[in-house]
Amino acid sequence: MKNQILTFLLALACASVLYSQQTMWVSTGQVKYSFDTQQVGRMPFNVAGDTLTVLGKAFAISDVDSIYLTNTQTEGNTVMVNYDDTVAWVTIAGNIATQVTPIVDGANVRMVQDSTMQQEVFYTLSGTSSNGSFYQEGEYKATFILNGLTLTSSAGPAIDINDGKRIEIQLVDGTTTTLADGAKGTHKAAFNVEGHSEFKGGGNLVITGNTKHGFKSDEYMELKKSFTGLINVKNAVGDGLSINQYLEVKSGRILVERCEGDGIQVDAKADSTKVKNGQFIMSGGSISIEGVGEDCKGIKVEKAVTISDGVIEVVAEDNALHSKTNMIITGGNIYTYSIYAHGVNAGDSLTIAGGKIVAFAAPTVGYGVRGATALFITGGDVAAIGALVSTPKTVEESQPVLTYQGTVYKTIMSLTDETGNAVMTFDQSRSYSSSKRHTLLLSSPSLIEDADYTLNKDASLNDDAENWHGLYASPEAVIDAGTEMATGTAMVPYGVMQ
């Protein structure tokens, strides 16, 4: 008897999750509504016979082009927008028809969610238009699925999400979405999000910001662990990415090819209680900044920076990697090249506890690595060069450091121990004037405190040797150690080579 009752309950559960496979479509101009015929029940006319109401949505008969059926399943809580050159076709799931209002003008689409909406809506954008846009307004979390959309707006953002809640942005695997905004506008970005943006998926997003920023998120931006895609700013009049509150990168790629502002700027919110306010946190993924504006920074962060993994490659006119407060690097591969300023710069303390860091700073004025109040090196492989570097300070577990100040040649430098083994090799590929003194800082877990080392120039390498932007950590990389240019003792907090 028990088994039979259980079987009955199972069958009942089965029946209760059935989907209808019949959809009623109400077509009104560029907007169609899809209704599950199992849900519509009675559809009343008004007394005059000029209005038909379906699931609470009143349709003026004069607006209805046709009503028809298909043997397809209706997915609730969805909005599909497909751009087709000068028009956009919008499909709205019937169960949200009373709470989502479309305003469609050619290929410019505005979707206004009622403030009473308490369900997540899933918007899918696709197609192509060279004169279109998408705007959404709401007060509840929403998801935007970008499915190979190509959208250029002649005025205003290409995508503008005026919803202050959690905004999930899915880049469909295998697709590329390309966005560009109108020039000389007053808006903030080609792709603007009022709320907090979370990226998922494996597709590509290519953005051009013709008025100001490429992408702006007024609250935090997260690249989730499930994000395997690429956010590529081709060009921006402002910053490549402009983020308020915090940027957290766990996976995926960010590439800023060119911008006239900072590559990535992270600002703190006025409300200081906001979580991770003003911070940049990276634990995976990669960021490449290839070109920024005059006097602009590569990655500019108003508060703290924490990097535990991932890859960062930044070329900038001003500081390449910059935090206004503390910076802590415990892992990851970091390459910074500043044309006129510092390579890695922290406005407070800089702690390097792991990872591989290669930092080139400007001749004459730039610091390779700089902590305005303190520099602590407790781990990692570090090669930093500039006019100066910050003087490392001693803490528990400080790692030995060697510094050299003098003529720095554009050459492959090797650091050999007393037995002649190359413990570090650095391809110093930047030209620094031989008439001025510059500073090289080298540190590695391979250095032994109080051991003597020789700094050599003109070393030769195995072409296949593994390296991070010219920093080789393996003795097998060197074929010939080169000729001696200085000697010194590795010490904590640092030793000086002469």
Binding site: Q21, Q22, Q38, R42, S66
Partner: protein, 142 residues
């Protein structure tokens, strides 16, 4: 009891594998008269106060004036007037119709003008088998 539970489970299982779609669309006016159309290849457009209905290769024009509502159904309407199984003329098949049929069987009521609606197996008499069919209609099993 065992037999009925197993039958119910089988019926629900059949429901699981069936496509959930309606066969008919009713246009019901304010006095309860119904014009029913098939949902096969159904398309409706509107012009000059009329619904222009195209279905199953046929065309039909239905005036919008005095129309009360549309409703999908799987219950066929015979002779364009009554809903099969509708014993009290309210336009739908529900528990009150089951009670009406049972009362007829128990000879508590005389058959009404809707007698034809109660003889669902078209056997010529109203009996328990008609009650079973009526229940299946209510449960949307047929």
């Amino acid at each position: 009891m065992k037999k009925y539970i197993l039958l119910l489970v089988m019926a629900l299982a059949v429901l699981c594998v069936q496509a959930q779609s309606y066969k008919y669309l009713n246009f019901t006016d304010t006095v309860g008269d119904i014009q029913q159309v098939s949902t096969t290849d159904l398309k409706i457009t509107f012009a000059d106060g009329n619904a222009l209905v195209s279905t199953n290769g046929e065309q039909k024009t239905i005036s919008l004036s005095a129309l009360d509502y549309l409703e999908f159904t799987n219950t066929k309407v015979y002779a364009g007037e009554y809903v099969r199984g509708d014993m009290d003329g309210n336009g739908i098949v529900d528990v009150s119709d089951v009670n009406a049929v049972i009362n007829i069987i128990l000879k508590l009521n005389e058959p009404s003008d809707y007698l034809g609606n109660g003889d669902l197996d078209e056997s010529g008499i109203i009996d328990v088998s008609d009650v079973n069919i009526m229940i299946n209609i209510i449960l949307k099993l047929i």
